[in-house]
Each structure stands twice: as C-alpha cells, then as structure tokens.
Amino acid sequence: MEKFEPERIYNLYFDTVYKVCFLYMKNHADTQDMAQETFCQLLSKPFQYETDEKTKAWLIVSASNLCKNHLKKWWVKKSVSYEDSIAEHADKNGLVAESGSGSEVYRTVMSLDEKYALPTYLYYYEGYKTAEIAKILHTKPSTIQTRLAKARELLKMELE
C-alpha cells in the first residue's frame, strides 16, 4: 500500500516538477529555486495524502502556480551577461547567430506560451489524456483540446 514518505515522493516526482518549472522559468538556476519551493510547500503546508498519482497532480499544479506567481515578482525577469548584450547587438544589426536544427526545435518548444506549454507537456510527455489534464488543471476538456491544437499549430507538429 502506498504511504506518504517525503523522500520517496521527492525521488519519484522530482524530475516531473523540475521539467514543469523549467517550462516556465527557462533556465536551470531559477528552475532549481522553484522546484525546491514546490517541495517545501508540500512538506510544510497541510496536505492530505491519498495516492501517489494525486500527489503528482498536486505537485504539477503547485509548481505551475508558484512559477506563474514568481514570474510576476522581483529580480526574476532576466540575467544578462555582456556577452548576451553583444549577441543581441549583433542580431539587431542583421548579423545571424549560429544555429542548428536541434537548437531550433529546442527554441520552438521553449517559446511556447505557458498556457500551451503545460498541457502539451502533460499530453505528449507524461501521456495524460485530455480529460485527465482538464481535471488536473481545473479546466474543461474542450479548453485543453483547443490549447493542444494551438500548440500543435505553433510547434508545426505532425499529426499522429
């Protein structure tokens, strides 16, 4: 029978939480902070454990909400090195930076707006059905279907 053992839950779902946070924060440093905060919330706030799967859903939603709130707050927006400033300057002046097709796929995925990024991740990577995603995110299945369709359009994803 499953039990709520903090370290077991952490090991089981850390990767999921990390990926969800990265979809919002888009860099490892901030992602680590947000992943840490998600698990701190799990262990410090009142939490009624029922099953591992429900705990996973709770973690996904908490991580998402924490990231969304954090993105509105202080010192989050950007860290800029002057090398990046130079590259931006080069781009603005029509000088093309090096890119390969792999990095282009990565950029395309990372450029998805947050409202498409999470359903897309839950559908294509975690394998949830649209009804399940709708339940996790407290929205209608039709909303999830619309967002997945839009995400496919933005990603130019081939239909299965």
Partner: protein, 351 residues
Amino acid sequence: MRKEEYVNVIEQITPEEEVKKEIWNRVSQSTGTQKKTIAFKKWGLVAAVLAIVCVAGVYAPTAVAEIRSHILRETPSYGPLADSVETAIFSKADEHICVTVEELLSDGVVVEMTVKYTALDRTGKKWLEKMDTGIAQGEYKMNIQPRMINTIEYGVNYSYGAMELEEQATETERVFLLGFQASGRTYTDHQGVFTFPMTETTEEVLLDVSGNVEIRSFALKGAEAASEYYTPTYIELSPMSFVIYAQNHGVFERSQNDNYYEEKWLMPEEEIDALEANSYFIMKDGSREPLPQGAAHNTTHAKEDNLYSDVMLYSERFYSEPKEYRPSPEIMNLDEIEAVVINGVRFEFVK
C-alpha cells in the same frame, strides 16, 4: 516537428543527480517552518498594536509611522538609507496616462526605483486595466537596464526585474517597483535605460542612476600575493554592495565568434572555488563576514588593450545570512569593516 523531437527536448531538461540531492538537503532542512510561521504571527501582533497606537494619536515609533517610501516599505532593511532615496526623478504624460518615476535608491550597483502610472481620462483608465503585470517584454514592456555602448569596454553583467505593488493600485493608479543589480559601475555614464509603455508607444529614456548612497573607495594593500592570476587593487564599498577590482596577470582567452572578436580574462574553476571559500570581511569586533558565494567573476573584459589592467574580481549586494529559503537584501555598516581577506590573504584598506 515530430512528437519524438518534442519528447527529446523535454528529456534534455534533466538536472544532475548532485543538484537533486542538494535540493533535497535544503528542502528537508528547511521544513521546520512551523517556527517561522509563529514568528510571523508575533510580528503581525506587534504591527497591529503599533497601528492602533497610531490611530489613537499616541506617539508611535518612527519606523511604523513614517515609511512612506515604497522602496523602504518593500525592503525594510534599507530603512537607514531613507535620506538617500531621491524623489521626483522623471515624468512623462500623453493624452491618457502619466508615467512618473517617483523614487530612486541607488549605489550604482544596486538600483531600485518606483514607477507610478496614473490614468488621466476614461481611455487611460481602460488602458491601465489591461496592462499586464508580466512586464519584461511584449506590449507592456517596462524595465530599467544599465546603459552600455561600446559594450566590451563598459561591460557589466546584470540582472533586472520588476514587480507591481498591487496593494497600491486604485481605479486610476498602478505602482511598480523596478530595478537592476550589476556586477560593477562601469556601464556608460552611470546611466540606466528606462523602457516603459505608454498608450500608443513604448518609450525609452536615459536616467542618471548613480544615486545618493555613500560609496567608499580604498586601495587594497596585502602583505603577500593572493593568487598567480590576479592582484587585488581596490575596493568600492557602499552599505548596499561591494566591488573588488584586481589587476590580472595576463591570463586571457581570445575567441572569434561569428560576428565579433572577443578577449576575456580567465580564471580556472578551482581558483574561483578557492577564492570564494577563503574570502571574507574582517569586522572591527573581530568577527568575519564571508563574501557571498557565487559572486566571484571568472571572466571579464580587461579595459586596456594590453590586458594587464583592472578587472572586476568579486562583487555582490549584501544579503542576510540565508536563514530562509531566500536571503533578503541587507545593509552593511561600513564603519564596522576593518579589512578584507581575499583568497586567504589579508588586505588593508588604504585611502
């Protein structure tokens, strides 16, 4: 894009095992949050009592009665810098809204300012209602960044951000806190580029962000060499931050990217680790204040063509000891600092 390509991208977002363990250590250590909650409740009670005293017209402590500055209210530890907060910095209006930079608190490394948007008519009010608080980019982009022309010579690393003070919002006004933190003061003319939306355009204006916070500069004198890679030369100290400069000993890297030619001074990782582990301020009472981790610079541009010149070695704002998950900015009493130890070598301050 095929589904497999998407999945491969997500697969790449995998933290190292070490990072996972480190985060677990921090999580398990910090989940004694019961005590923290109780402490907050105590402060809440104290604040409520003081507020009641204020309303009754009885004398109340200055700290509660007179915090009118948004910056100081958000960062109470900056209270001693109240006299350094500048006001009425900049203002611009169009037909429908007025934008005012109301306050600036800066030492040139840490720059914080408050920006107020005021609706002047119905159209402005509607525009303000729509304004998105995710304001680093897009239609409502609003930020302050260090100005850098001729970037190689004046380059600093920096982070910048913004947040809305939602509790200050009214039907016709919204207030935001903006700022940046740079690795040094060498950006162009001590100016910041303030980008802000108006109803028809996004505007950009240069602001003097040198600030009024006291900065003390000292040459650094040590009895022996701190490293084969650098010699610390001087330090700039303010109550908010410190910047240590050094002379590099000529270890550098030249690289040619697609579009520009770059020269950088380099220090090996082991040298950075040693520097961070063995550097601290010595206080007059004999105690030590370690320099923050992760704030040493391993690459930076030398200012002179021959590369044997001043480089920024170590810089950071002062933070509280990380008792909580996130340390908060703090003030350093400069009169209490006796000397600095850099990579295990003591350096005296020389005027």
